[in-house]
Amino acid sequence: MALNLRTLVAALLVLALLLVPVYAAFIGNNFILSVCTRMVILAIAATSLNLIMGYGGMVSFGHAAYLGIGGYVVGILAFEGIYSGFIQWPLALVVSAVFALVIGALSLRTKGVYFIMITLAFAQMIYYVGVSLSRYGADDGLTIQRRSQFGDLINMSHKATFYYVCLACLFITLFVVWRLVNSRFGMAIQGARSNDTRMRAIGFPTYRYKLTCFVIAGTICGLAGALLANHTDFISPAVMHWTRSGDLIVMVVLGGMATLFGPLIGTVAFLALEEALPFVMSKTIDPYFIPSGIRPSEYWQIILGPLLLLVVLFARGGIDGFLARISDKEPS
């Protein structure tokens, strides 16, 4: 592989992620570590969404549901006194997979806008199930008293350790997705995205491949959900709200669909903007509005929206696609 800008950015990003706890310890501030843990967890979710949306052409508008399902499995088990991660985590994956199987089996009978709408509808149903779980806090959510226990193996309550567990999960996810999309299975998935009718005409029963892909993505996102619940020590229906599903789509599109590192880049960019925009705006724009009593920094999405519009209009393929184009122009 030639060293171009695109691979350089990916490599630097990985290196930076590896060094975050060192930096946090150095400056003695754990806030940055917490922000980055969240980034890493959501990057896992975005990567799993990219598997179906970017590679498989299945635009799921309900992917955050699996964040909630994975999280609720951990939260409910902890509430009922089962703290072992060896039980919580596998169960979170299995339950997510079962939900993905049912949702996918029905949704994949539709295409295009209908698919988007039906995945949204399922996610909303699950959201309202969460809201109605009065034993588990209903819409107030459920505080998780103890994080998943892995005996003496790993201490999940140690912030840096937990961060590296999440990062390891992200790297494993990226590796698995990379193998997957280049395998025969991955070729079948990409063929179905490109031209489903033709795939069936040359002999592929595309439905079962797409469904399998959908289940794999849901399972991976369930893992992200289990991690997220551990990270926040809390689970509530809010993580499954449809706007969360929208955020995941934005992360994937912003970073670059159907590229391995795109969703990671997109997640980092999205969450960095989420943190930085209010801060920058409060320093620059807010002072002009003091007489009116309005604080524009509270409405930081006003800047984020047009930014996204620019990416969609002028940088098809997201940030990663943009970097790839610059790299191609360089005489290397």
């Binding site: 395998s183 299975f185 990409q190 490109s194 033709r198 069936r200």
Partner: protein
């Protein structure tokens, strides 16, 4: 029952329009059978029913002794039936070689292989290269399918139908939109294929049809008005009237 493909009393209507009206014909192994007819005669609708994109309202389609009337497309493909599309249908965002390799993969067992790099598997890539070579596209393998000219796309369309080593080809206007030179090349290719495959050819290019076909079926308003060897069809009065709009040269007897 030696025919490879048997079509019995096939019928399909869309509302008040009869697209296929009691169509009957047989294609024995090794024959190149052309289906001609004016625009809107129901030729593509017929192919779609033979291949499973559309389900007939009634009638029966038998392929190699199996009733395939209600089978989904991928199962027909597995039995050895392949089709090309009148409107080119490719994987435009994949490379030319990937396009054909996918068609090879479709017939190399199931695709629940999650780990090994499919682009490095010689059991997929080698047959795909061989098919590209036969279609005259070997030099374009690494090109994106979207970057091909119309003529090259038509060739790739045919290559993908061939890649699954089918027993029978359903070709829907392979020469659609080709210039004279490209058409001539396509006729040469079809002549080459004719010896190896049973072919059902839908085509508007009459010169090509009469040069290639063993037998011709004429379809008008979804109904078979004649079926027979080219010479017979050429002399058929009903065909001339319906298809060519000529009523003067009334020669020869009508054959069913």
């Amino acid at each position: 029952m030696s025919a490879l493909l048997q079509v019995e009393n096939l019928a399909k209507r869309f509302g008040g329009i009869v697209a296929t009206d009691d169509v009957v014909f047989n294609i024995p192994e090794g024959e190149l059978h052309a289906v001609i007819g004016p625009n809107g005669a129901g030729k593509t609708t017929l192919i779609s029913q033979l291949f499973g994109q559309l389900m007939p309202d009634s009638g029966r389609v038998t392929f190699a002794g199996t009733d395939i009337t209600r089978l989904p497309m991928h199962q027909r493909s597995a039995l050895g039936l392949a089709r090309s599309f009148q409107i080119t249908s490719l994987f435009l965002d994949l490379s030319v070689l990937d396009n054909v390799a996918l068609a090879v993969q479709a017939h190399a067992g199931h695709s629940f292989h999650f780990w090994r790099d499919a682009r490095k598997q010689s059991e997929l890539r080698d047959p795909a290269r061989a098919v590209l070579d036969r279609a005259g596209l070997a030099h374009l393998g690494n090109r994106s399918a979207a970057a091909l000219s119309h003529g090259e796309r038509r060739q790739l369309e045919l290559a993908m139908a061939l890649a699954g080593s089918p027993r029978m080809l359903l070709l829907d206007e392979p020469m659609a939109g080709l210039g004279p030179e490209e058409s001539a090349r396509m006729v040469d290719m079809l002549r080459e294929l004719k010896r190896k495959y049973t072919i059902l050819l839908v085509e508007h290019d009459m010169e090509a049809v009469f040069a290639l076909a063993d037998r011709i079926t004429v379809l008008v308003y979804g109904r078979v008005i004649a079926s027979g060897p080219p010479d017979e069809i050429r002399g058929n009065a009903q065909v001339r009237e319906a298809y060519l709009g000529e009523e003067d040269h009334v020669e020869g007897a009508v054959n069913g």
